[in-house]
């Protein structure tokens, strides 16, 4: 049945519509693939029984002529999404036993459209990390290995489980979230497609909060078209999230394959950073050449405050996290470690329940918000954030989209950067600006480096203009003709 798992989402939907196979057959093939891939540690909580039950219900609906947009498609769900009655732990010890009595809006939208849940996907704890090493379940392993080597590589983070599962063909697509690059960097590291939509496109209701002004959900998939199909289902206005935008969701797949002739694509010169591997520089040049051949006009642009985006992010995100994570107090849900009094119980619960990176960020957030430092750090960062957003506004007066590399390197070995927080943070140097400005950003696989590891290109668009990204992403995908797959070792 392995050929059923190597289908694209689109081909699988077409195959079920043509009655070539059933949702149960398709799901069974994926359940077996998940079971056989334990070495990747991509699924933190597989739900095979639920998957088959949902697939049976899907086949029954189809028999009655009721088919949704994702009818019968088996998907993986990042552990950050609340799924009713199914463990939702955000890969944290403090939520290890949490079974939500409600369903997140994004996953509810997927089930409304007929999708099937294969289980919960591993991730960095509370989505804080760029290598998946902060998970309470241990790191996810990238299905890709360097040619001639067998070192375990990171799939990136924080949506590392989503990336690894999609690349290894354990699911047809997956949900993910992106606060500073957590969809796009893992997509680049695993040769998959990932898009973070405009802030407000996807409801945050039922998604465990990290930094509320930056968090957005989005899909990961193996083709641009598949990611468009998934995003169309995930989006939509939700009165339960006050920052959810009251706008119509277009059929994103209709933009894939559209001509990009005449589109103006900006190349921001500040993204040419010191120490960038020549292969990434070369891939970027290649991407520019592809878009020129497709009829785009290439424009040199400047985003002068780019280098300040990461330091601003590492004030804003921890500040919001320190506030959001105050709710984990051991009283209403999650872990409780009894102490001698109330304060002692709080302190012991949180010391025991949070991992080191999460504690580090809570401490930084608490510090920058504390009396005497608020103006110097937090307020300053919010002003720099405005400068960064203004840079984009000015660039988008001249261009329709921007093209950059997604990440400053290919996937690195697990353990390589875990001792140096700042070196780890630099992974998000090209992605984090987009979150600060609230814009859509997409990573498309574009080639392999000398070690045979995938590299991605990033497209950045105007707010609510995901359509242009899907057209440009489709053009890059077609030109790159990226067919490489990881050699199965797991």
């Amino acid at each position: 049945m392995s050929d059923l798992t190597s289908l694209t989402l689109k081909a699988a939907l077409d195959g079920m519509a043509a009655k070539s196979f059933s949702a149960v057959e398709l799901t069974q093939a994926h359940v077996e693939a998940v079971e056989a891939a334990k070495a990747l540690n991509a699924f933190s909580f597989p739900t095979p029984d639920k998957a088959l039950e949902m697939a049976r219900a899907s086949d029954e609906r189809r028999a009655k002529g009721q088919t949704g947009r994702l009818e019968g498609a088996p998907l993986g769900i990042k552990d950050l999404f609340a799924t009713e009655g199914v463990q939702s732990a955000a890969a944290s010890k403090i939520l290890a036993t949490f079974r939500p009595p409600y369903e997140s809006t994004v996953t509810a939208n997927l089930w409304r459209d007929g999708a099937v849940m294969l289980g919960k996907l591993n991730m960095d704890e509370f989505a804080m990390g760029s290598s998946n090493e902060t998970s309470a379940y241990g790191p996810v392993v990238n299905p890709w290995r360097a040619e001639g080597g067998n070192a375990k590589l990171t799939p990136g983070g924080s949506s590392g489980g989503s990336a690894s599962a999609v690349a290894a063909e354990l699911c047809l697509g997956a949900t993910a979230t992106d606060t500073g690059g957590s969809i796009r960097q893992p997509a680049a590291f695993t040769g998959t497609v990932g898009i973070k939509p405009t802030y407000g496109r996807c409801s945050r209701w039922g998604v465990v909060a990290f930094a509320s002004s930056l968090d957005q959900a989005g899909p990961m998939a193996r083709t641009v078209e598949d990611s468009a199909i998934l995003l169309t289902s995930m989006c939509g206005h939700d009165p339960k999230d006050s920052t959810s935008l009251p706008v119509e969701t277009p059929d994103f797949a209709s933009f894939v394959g559209k001509s990009v002739k005449g589109l103006r694509v900006g190349i921001p010169r500040e993204y040419r950073v010191d120490g960038m591997p020549p292969e990434i520089e070369k891939l970027w040049e290649q991407g520019i050449a592809w878009l020129k051949e497709a009829g785009c006009e290439i424009v040199d642009v400047s985003l002068p405050h780019t280098k300040y985006a990461l330091p601003a992010y590492y004030i804003i995100a921890p500040a919001e996290a320190s506030s959001n994570l105050a709710r984990y107090d051991g009283m209403r849900y999650g872990l409780r470690v009894e102490g001698q009094n109330l304060t002692d119980t709080y302190e012991k619960t949180r010391a025991e329940g949070f991992g080191n990176e999460v504690k580090r960020r809570i401490l930084i957030g608490t510090y920058v918000l504390s009396a005497g430092y608020y103006d110097a750090y937090y307020l300053k960062a919010l002003k720099v954030r405005r400068r960064i957003a203004d840079d984009f506004d000015q660039a988008f007066e001249k261009v329709d989209a921007l093209l950059t590399p997604t990440a400053p390197s290919a996937a690195f070995a697990l353990g390589d950067k875990s001792d140096d927080p700042v070196a780890m943070y630099l992974n998000d140097i090209f992605t984090v600006t987009v979150n600060l400005a609230g814009l859509p950003g997409m990573s498309v696989p574009a080639g392999l480096d000398a070690n045979g590891l995938p590299l991605g290109l990033q497209l950045i668009g105007r707010a609510l203009d995901e359509g242009t990204l899907f057209s440009l992403g489709g053009a890059i995908e077609k030109a790159a003709d990226f067919k490489a797959k990881p050699k199965k070792w797991w």
Partner: protein, 95 residues
């Protein structure tokens, strides 16, 4: 700006995270390294710049102030570490 062990102790207390005495020095070094990297923000001229708290340009919507769901204590208490008679049980807070 470098922060010392005493500051880490104070911040950890504010954040309600128990940090053992022997971890305060290493944490102070780690946090100082991150903060000194962040210091470069000082180079940016932000005079007269309005702080940006959200990427949403529309005003927050209002909704009717009505109860939409509830009355289901067993679901609400389903994940509680301790509960009794439809209440959360918490440590004593007054003497």
């Amino acid at each position: 700006m470098a922060i010392d062990a005493a500051t880490v102790r104070k911040v950890a207390r504010l954040a309600r995270i128990a940090e053992p005495e022997e971890k305060l020095e290493p944490l102070a070094r780690e946090l100082s390294a991150i903060l000194s990297w962040i210091e470069q923000l000082g180079e940016v001229d932000t005079d007269g710049v309005e702080p940006m708290t959200t990427a949403i340009h529309t005003p927050l919507p209002m909704r009717d102030d009505v109860v939409t769901e509830g009355g289901d204590p067993s679901r609400v208490l389903g994940n509680a570490p301790k509960s009794k008679d439809n209440f959360f049980v918490v440590p004593k807070v007054v003497e």
